[in-house]
Symmetry: C2
Subunit: 568 residues, 2 copies
């Protein structure tokens, strides 16, 4: 068999391995060395693919595809610096536990380290950011070797999902020629080896210890950013009911919206936990934390009580506790832990403790800073957005300001709405592509809320827009508005070095990518534009023209009004 | 001293170390954690800075700044995935020996590996792609520690330049607070520790061996891509004169243009080394190679003669020989080796051997495939471009097709013209930013020649355009035209998976970034547009609208005509 045919046979086996373990979606970038992989994707009956010439956008799009149902997605790029553009998305996938399979084409060993063109050291290119790295061997038709490369596809997929979901890298060297003269029949798909999601059961002795702690004092459940788990909302709200304790839900916990019990659910804590009047006497005896560190800085500050018993449920072996105060580390699936604790506990605490939280939540709920100006304001945009989105929408939030503003103002409701963000490394990178990847994976309306620097950083991602439906809302305050809230705002070179405004008119961006475009300069233009965007196909860019000073003023007025209400 | 003041003091010392070793230019991206570094840059009297919100563009811009005179340039980014976007430019800097100093801000050890926000494992983030990695300690006012961090700045700069120029990474962790309340006076700049560029002298015994080989048979000097060295052109042309041998000069060798002796210089070899008639009997006894592997595939193929003596001059310890046939590896500075060999050798070979090459060169020189159409053609564009560019221009070439087309058609001339490309990893990435970095570093006209996918990949780089003068010529054949020359062109899904056309109208890109824009649809529009662009300030985009089929046809007609001439 000639080399090109061997390369293809080998790639067929790898792709069939990926498919056998459940991979269905692949994102390609162009190149020559990756030809055998692309040919194999193209003729595998179970694989669907997307493509993008910028590998960075391709990787974040794959991340978006994979986040939706936490299903593994593969990436293919050619040799050289091409796969290097995957690094930022790989870091995000690592930190936020998204299954990605990175397939980098490479030049064969005989062309390594000798100045050959488009050849770099791709071994362990992603360092400690991947769950596993495999250097695939040289394509051959030896049946054992073919069985090995197929198994590697299966194994990498399993490893990307369990025990800790994340990225896995396979580096594949191909000798020329890469394009077969005649493309032979591919072998029939082999048997599947489906992935399992064996949940980790809580340790029974630990459970007894925990139950004793939780029924003996005032407690709090805190749910940070976590992957969607259909069983978790009912399990954790049942536990909060048994313990009669407040349940503080991060915007990325999946708990603020949905038909589960909301009676003990607290979403506006960022606006009252910083209040001295509230905090006085609101010291919990224990805290049970799920998920990653919450977005709210006030919540993190609040949790710094000395001598409280902090229980952290972390099913993946990592230690997500930036406060360094975990007293009990529980290795268990969150829903299983909730159910087991619910069975073991009944509340001992009086209503008063819970009431402090629920009363603060409702006291805050109606506050909107008065404003004479018609200029759009973030709080109002967010409230109207949440109100307008239909059931089952996905709301993708940018980092920096949008996620913090959603944290403050999303509220909670029985509406089915899921909020997603790249909160692993919390970068301003790749957000457009992630959002469009979500849109490609979902049948439901997908809406993104991004800052203008975040939008700028990944404009290349808009090339994906052509065949997708999505709404991208950009809070345009011309620069990194978050820095206006930080001490850097006082510096002389603040605007130049921290705000870094681009002064770009995104009208031209919208034209370049044929997006519908609305520039919202008055608050009352927003809701009609959003309704229109949701009802038409394609990608719409809704640019909210903000006044940075007004935003700061409104935000500080809001805090004052909240403080006033809480003190009364 | 409070932490913010310590952070700044520490950063002052580092910046002063960089400056003491000769760093003058820094490229910043926005962020909070990097605040002490940015403040220190801002108040150091010797440091000039640029900025860009996309760290990928920032890094390639730094590469362009550094290439011009091979002077070290530093990068600053905040913690998290931000520095990850430097990876592709770091790979290019590594492979093409460009001195970059990567300064990544990080969170302190106490916030590592515990799920803290915007915190990733930044230790050895660039793996084997850097000359050195340093984990800076915790900022303190201990005089020894301050001396250490200053020295680290000096050391990193020296290491980025010698013995093998390339990137060096320093990771700097800062504890909050990051912004001092009052910014104290900075300490006076310390003494400088200038870098040295000690050239490597050839080994005298090796020199004798080489001289014996070179005077005893027919030889060839081949110069591949190499950094500019003002002494090299005269040294190598003198050596070619002494040996009376052909000197084959890659477009990136710095030899095709300039006032040195051109009498033995061959630039059109790609068009005749593949010709059987020429190759027959044109076997050299020895080949002396300088620089990286040449762009021309025909040249690489031609060099595969069995049993020729291949001498490779590689001053940096790497082994740039993808043909695996080096018989003598010379560790010496190229100009020094040429001079030493010139002193030791006189020609023994008759004129005939040299004449074969010079006659082929001039036989090819006038060929242009006839064409009825007014549509622009690459060969004519390149010839007019070379002809129109004023003395001392810098011509930056994209990879993929442009560099190969320049290789075929640039010719040679006494005009002072320098051709530069990112030929380390030969990616289609970061080219716009590199080109604009060159423009920022140079007083002379800077013109880029890029394919449309290459242009698309780094459109974000255009944000640098505002204060610069440059001309960007885009060969727009809507997709990866190079694949049309490869076997992949025969594949059914060729257009979709290899060509990957974006179908974008770059008129909107030009408007977004306020570029002058010409769409060239007829060949005769090109030269006036180029002249206009060169005479006005700012950045001009000259888009050459190509017809992919016509280009292929013209290219194959050119080959036919060349073969015919060589056989007659």
């Amino acid at each position: 068999m000639d080399t090109a045919a061997l390369n293809l046979l080998w790639s067929d086996q790898l792709m069939d391995g990926l498919a056998a373990a459940g991979v269905r979606r692949i994102v390609l970038s162009p190149g020559s060395r990756s030809t055998p992989l692309v040919l194999a994707v193209n003729r595998h009956p179970k694989l669907r693919h997307w493509q993008h010439p910028d590998e960075r956008s391709a990787a974040f799009f794959a991340l978006g595809l994979a986040i939706h149902q936490r299903q593994p997605v593969a990436l293919i790029a050619t040799s050289g610096s091409a796969p290097a553009h995957w690094l930022a998305a790989t870091i995000e996938a690592n930190r936020s536990h998204v299954p990605l399979i990175l397939l980098s084409a490479d030049r064969p060993p005989g062309l390594q380290a000798c100045g050959s063109n488009q050849t770099i050291d791709q071994v362990h290119l992603f360092g400690t950011q991947v769950r596993g790295f495999y250097q695939a061997g040289t394509p051959t038709d030896d049946p054992q070797a073919l069985a090995h490369i197929r198994r590697l596809g299966i194994q990498a997929t399993h490893q990307a999902l369990w025990p800790a979901p994340g990225p896995v890298h396979i580096n594949l060297a191909f000798q020329e020629p890469l394009t077969p003269h005649r493309i032979a029949q591919r072998t029939l798909p082999g048997p599947s080896v489906p992935t399992s999601h064996s949940p980790v059961q809580p340790d029974p002795r630990q459970l007894q210890r925990l139950a004793r702690v939780m029924i003996s004092g005032r407690g709090l459940i805190v749910c940070g950013p976590m992957p969607q788990d259909a069983k978790f909302p009912s399990a954790v709200t049942r536990l909060a009911g048994q313990l009669n304790c407040p349940l503080l839900a991060d915007p990325l916990s999946g708990l603020r919206f949905g038909s589960h019990d909301h009676s003990r659910l607290i979403s506006r804590y960022d606006s009252f936990l910083g209040n001295d009047h509230f905090r006085h006497g609101a010291r919990p005896d224990w805290v049970l934390r799920f998920g990653a560190a919450p977005v709210s800085k006030h919540l993190l500050e609040y949790l710094k009580w000395p001598d409280i018993h902090l229980v952290l449920c972390a099913p993946w072996g990592d230690w997500p506790d930036p406060l360094h105060q975990t007293g009990e580390m529980v290795r268990a699936a969150p829903a299983l832990l909730c159910n087991a604790l619910s069975d073991a506990c009944t509340a001992s605490e009086t209503q008063t403790w819970l009431q402090g939280f629920t009363q603060a939540e409702s006291a805050i709920a109606d506050i909107t800073a008065p404003c004479e100006s018609a200029t759009p304001r973030e709080q109002v945009v967010i409230e109207e957005l949440i109100d307008t989105l239909p059931d089952d929408s996905l709301l993708f939030s940018g980092n920096s300001l949008p996620i913090r503003q959603l944290d403050s103002w999303s509220g909670q409701a029985a509406k089915r709405l899921r909020i997603i963000a790249n909160r692993g490394a919390s970068g301003i990178d790749g957000n457009v592509s992630t959002l469009l990847g979500l849109a490609a994976a979902s049948e439901q309306p997908v809406v993104g809320l991004l800052g203008d620097l975040t939008f700028f950083h990944d404009m290349n991602g808009l090339l994906f827009a052509r065949e997708l439906d999505a709404v991208i809302i950009v809070f345009n305050n011309d620069g990194g508005g978050i820095f206006g809230l930080l001490p850097q705002a006082e510096l002389e070179t603040f605007e130049q070095h921290w705000l870094m405004p681009t002064h770009l008119d995104f009208t031209h961006t919208a034209r370049l990518y044929a997006l519908e475009h609305y520039r919202i300069e008055r608050q009352d233009q927003f809701r009609p534009a959003l309704r229109k965007a949701l009802s038409t196909g394609g990608v719409t860019l809704i640019e909210i023209m903000l006044d940075r000073k007004l935003s700061l003023f409104a935000q500080s007025r809001y805090r004052q009004m909240a403080d006033l209400k809480l003190s009364s």
